[in-house]
Symmetry: C2
Subunit: 336 residues, 2 copies
Amino acid sequence: MVTIADVAKAAGVSVATVSRVMNHSSLVAEPTAKVVREAIERLSYVPNQQARNLRRNESKTVLVLLPNITNPYYANVFDGINERAQALGYTLFLCSTERQDPEALLKETIEYKRADGAILMHIDRDERWLQKYSDRFPIVQCCEYAAPCDTAHVSVDNYRAGYEATSYLVGLGRRKVGIISSANRMMSTLQRMRGYQDALSDAGISLEDRYIACSDESYSYMSSLQAARELLSQPDRPDALFCISDAIALAAVVVAGELGISVPEEVSVVGFDDVIYTQMIHPYLSTMIQPCLALGERAIDMLDQLIAGHPLENRNVVLPHGFIARESTCPLREDA
Amino acid sequence: MVTIADVAKAAGVSVATVSRVMNHSSLVAEPTAKVVREAIERLSYVPNQQARNLRRNESKTVLVLLPNITNPYYANVFDGINERAQALGYTLFLCSTERQDPEALLKETIEYKRADGAILMHIDRDERWLQKYSDRFPIVQCCEYAAPCDTAHVSVDNYRAGYEATSYLVGLGRRKVGIISSANRMMSTLQRMRGYQDALSDAGISLEDRYIACSDESYSYMSSLQAARELLSQPDRPDALFCISDAIALAAVVVAGELGISVPEEVSVVGFDDVIYTQMIHPYLSTMIQPCLALGERAIDMLDQLIAGHPLENRNVVLPHGFIARESTCPLREDA
DNA sequence: AAGACGAATGAAAAGGATTACATATCATGG
DNA sequence: CCATGATATGTAATCCTTTTCATTCGTCTT
């Protein structure tokens, strides 16, 4: 294993100079730097990360907290985090919030300096505990955020996305637009619901409680089926459904099938996220697209800034969403 | 930050003794050890992992190579690895083999001591390059393995699983059993195919080339649809389909729907893996169950042994698979 | 009773990089 | 021509733990 001392000897300089060259210090003369770079190249020297970590008192590790890596949505965002993390030299420490308490995890991480920072992908909108951690430790919230805390975050504009999805359905001529939301307390859930409500009001359509249903906290498929059955088995059922996740939308399509209701003609369905589910069965799902990879990449970029001690130019980043119409939506035929 | 020196002072012993207590060395008298443990407890001392890594020349990091974390199958196995890894004190460095060459990655990892070992989840059955790395670096293959190398591995018995899936379909009275395999060169693919072939031979059924189709290397959904169409649109089509992954099976079900062929009556379908796809649409998929979590857990356990320098009692671990009949299979009705 | 041995503990080196501080060199201004 | 300051480089301390080697002390052997 070639060390910095070997390079120093080969280049005829001191270890300090080699270190300075490695770290792009401006305090070293160009001719010297050149000699050092050549020696580094020749010996194919790579600094020992452990030694560097010890000296700099960092770990080059980032804690990532998400409910479940098995969920394609989180997996996609995580993929984005991971890709950039590699480029930035970080190793990720992934913890499932389904198995462990996020606050305890964060506390331990900070106390024992296990990570240089953390990315939080799941938090309830009204949590307050996060503040005291983000005050003294680099933390970025990704996709969700807690309103009472000023912890940095990156997400899409869930209100607008919800508004647009609903407006799209209204624009298809559908006036009995239902929503399948979730019983959780996440910010995205609330905002999508508000977008839905406002879009209907603005279109002069009154809200109907019987067109609103909820799946359980984790959008489980089973509970989504349940919720969809509730809405679709009514006599005066919705003719459109805005589902706040693709898994829910898929469940809605399946239930419609069971009940002999045609999708998209009798009921049009819009999902959310644009994960792989959307194109697994016909009708392929029309859905609001979240830029999962970009959300993850941006989160780790922001965290990297925080770790470096640079203030963020923008602590509340909003990334653009999209919409794609596939097979699960169509204009309402008046003669139906 | 409390260091080992603080503990030593508090306990009135030397740092060496504290270190020995921490590492369960037998060379320390019980009364002394007790005093030290109390001091550790009182100061809530936790050793600095960076310093330990440097001194021991290890990183407590494991490289995990898999094609795509977005694929639920790999995500499940990874979940198992991750859970045990945490308990064992490892951080995982996840790399996608779709974006990077596994050999180059392994080479770099070893050269620069970036990880203490590696878990490989994707390798072609006839690769030889792995041997020279596993000779000098702890490596465990998980789910797949290269036959020419004696690198340790853990997997299910894919031959038996393939045999059993096929036999099950034959047992339902179906004699025109097709298979949708993959164009890849993985060991599991070959073995499942062999199991299929032998099960048919043993049942006295001759192999028909026209009942065999392949999706592309990565079992992509689109290519699976293609393969299913190929098989099911023939005049004398199969009355059962063994699909070597659940995604393929789902595609088969969708294609059958398109073609107006009833599942499970006219064609029964068996999948493989038992991932979430199996219960997303009706008919829920009958499938061969892989113990994904257990595969991952075992892989990291084996690797931990290797890293510790202990020889493995069993270098080729086979974990039990299972089978679950859901809605996509039923006995063939003779009057059909 | 002296020497040998084993057990328990301590002192200090080692691991490899960063960095505070010291020093050397050179140019500039008075 | 010397003092001053800037620039470039070197020396050595530092980060914290593990581990080698040395030392101490008590016990056993002969």
